[in-house]
């Protein structure tokens, strides 16, 4: 524990907050008696995958919601690309280049896979107010969308209704939509869930390359994937970051060992 505290508060980390593309600074969020975020300070550097792990109810999703702008923190600040974005809403942060995938997929389920991805392109263009021209006739939007589908391996399913996709395919679709935003950073909430072993191996390879396009703040329960991918890992327990460090540094922490070795019911 002492080592962990040192990791969090060492002066180098504080310095990195200023240099990073995305950072939270002393973020607090309380729901009634529950302290969901307890003075959370963490950051995301260019080119890295920063994984956020912790038991169920540790406040990982609440933190992501605050970073994405869906929930306002009670206290603390959130910086993105040098701007203080604490007061901006989800759409405004997205327009700055913050892309997000959801734990429970948020898709237009009645629309086709292609339409869902084109919506992303539309958001990136910032011009959804065109009333006459058929959106599918826009070759620029279509090409971006098809390229994104190709990259996540859903190109064959472009005309399928999003509601008919499997659980894992919906996750892939979310990633494809995020790609069309040409984001400066990704927030990914359990992208591996429901993928199966071959699917998650493929996604692991994909994310591993993706980090060079834009860094990824990753919530993931698949510890193999986390240890394979992460440049840094933060451990969140009861809303508090108890440690941040490299895979090797975090791996030896007793809490993580217990979880990773399966002594304790974390939420795999």
């Amino acid at each position: 524990m002492r080592a962990a505290a040192l990791l969090v508060y060492s002066p180098e980390v504080r310095q990195e907050v200023a240099d990073s593309i995305l950072a939270t600074e002393g973020v607090c969020k309380r729901f009634g008696a529950l302290l969901a975020s307890d003075n959370v300070t963490l950051d995301l550097h260019e080119g890295e995958i920063h994984a956020l792990i912790g038991p169920n109810g540790a406040g990982k999703s609440t933190l992501i919601e605050q970073i994405a702008g869906a929930i306002k923190p009670d206290k603390g600040k959130i910086y993105f690309r040098g701007h203080n974005v604490t007061k901006l809403n989800t759409a405004e942060r997205a327009r700055l280049g913050l892309a997000r995938t959801f734990q429970i997929s948020a898709l237009a389920l009645e629309d086709s896979v292609l339409q869902n991805v084109i919506l992303g392109g539309l958001g990136a263009q910032g011009r959804p107010y065109r009333f006459f021209k058929p959106v599918l006739a826009s070759s620029a939007l279509r090409e971006t969308a098809e390229a994104a589908l190709e990259r996540v391996g859903l190109a064959q399913l472009a005309r399928t209704r999003a509601g008919e996709l499997s659980h894992g395919q919906k996750r892939q679709l979310e990633v494809a939509v995020a790609l069309t935003l040409k984001p400066k950073a990704f927030l990914m909430d359990e992208p591996m869930a429901g993928l199966g072993s071959s699917g998650s191996a493929r996604l692991t390879t994909f994310l591993s390359e993706l980090r060079h396009e834009a860094p990824i703040l990753l919530i993931e329960h698949d510890m193999d994937a986390v240890f394979a991918l992460a440049d840094r890992i933060s451990v969140l327990v009861y809303g508090k970051v108890i440690a941040t460090g490299s895979v090797d540094e975090v791996r030896i922490l007793p809490e993580v060992r217990r979880a990773y070795l399966g002594d304790d019911a974390w939420d795999c």
Binding site: E110, G123, P134, V135, L136
Partner: protein, 327 residues
Amino acid sequence: MSREGWINIALILSLLAVPLWAQVADEPFLITLSTRVAIFALAGVGLNLALGLGGLVSLGHAAFFGIGGYAMGILASHAQSYAPILEVPLLIEGTKSMPVIWLTALLVSGLVALAIGALSLRTTGVYFIMITLAFGQMLYYFSISWPAYGGEDGLPIYTRNNFPGLNTLDPIQFFLISYVILCIALVFISLLTKSSFGLALNAARQSVRRVETVGISTYRVRLTAFVLSGMMTGLSGALFADLNRFVSPSMFSWQTSGEIMIFVILGGTARLFGPVAGAALFIVLEHLLGGISDYWLIFLGLLLLAVVLFARGGLIGLLAGSPSRSG
């Protein structure tokens, strides 16, 4: 073409054929009924944009219908009394010209929709329903208590307004005006459905988070849809007032809002021609059942209940099956 496409064509052609036949057969009342169908359908097409495509259950569209009506009533009454509406700071006179009246109706109902929408869209769900209803009611009471334009008694206009090159007093010519406007609105909606805006609006109905996450403000998208929707319903109000040569607070009443919603639902929510089928069915029922019983609204109520509980697709849904969405 899909089955729904053929049904739509049959529908819009019969709406044209019936009054043309009535013209030949000298049945002017049938022409008036068809004109009512076209005008109500336009009101419904407007509401359907908010309700069907946008998922915004507005129970206050009578506000826009009434504003369109009063835009016509106020302009025409000043024209017939030769008294300007406003002298300072600038001279505004009344007019009997339909295009000017329509533009005014579109503009004013758009502005009111902007104000009502801006407030109501801060909320969702039941709050939105209740608030739109309440704002409609607010205008209703205002129209009753403001005596300058007839107050509770309403405002008669003695002759129908003019359209360049047409004799608007001829029922068939006025029908054609309404019919063409309805067709333009339908074309606009059909383009909008497939456009960028339509995609965003439709997605916002299904998942707010999805749309926000790609950087599009659902509030603005919905507000835009609400304003467009209010404008179309406003225009239909102006036509309706011209058809009757009379405006009254009842155009603002919540029953009117309910009826416009019935047009949409009876025909089939979120279907392009749903409001046309619904308005036609409504007028036919009103005419047939109203002839049998003074209490025909009981039957309308039962029918509506049956549609809601058992036939969600409405008339077009029954005829055409479930909707096919193009990808």
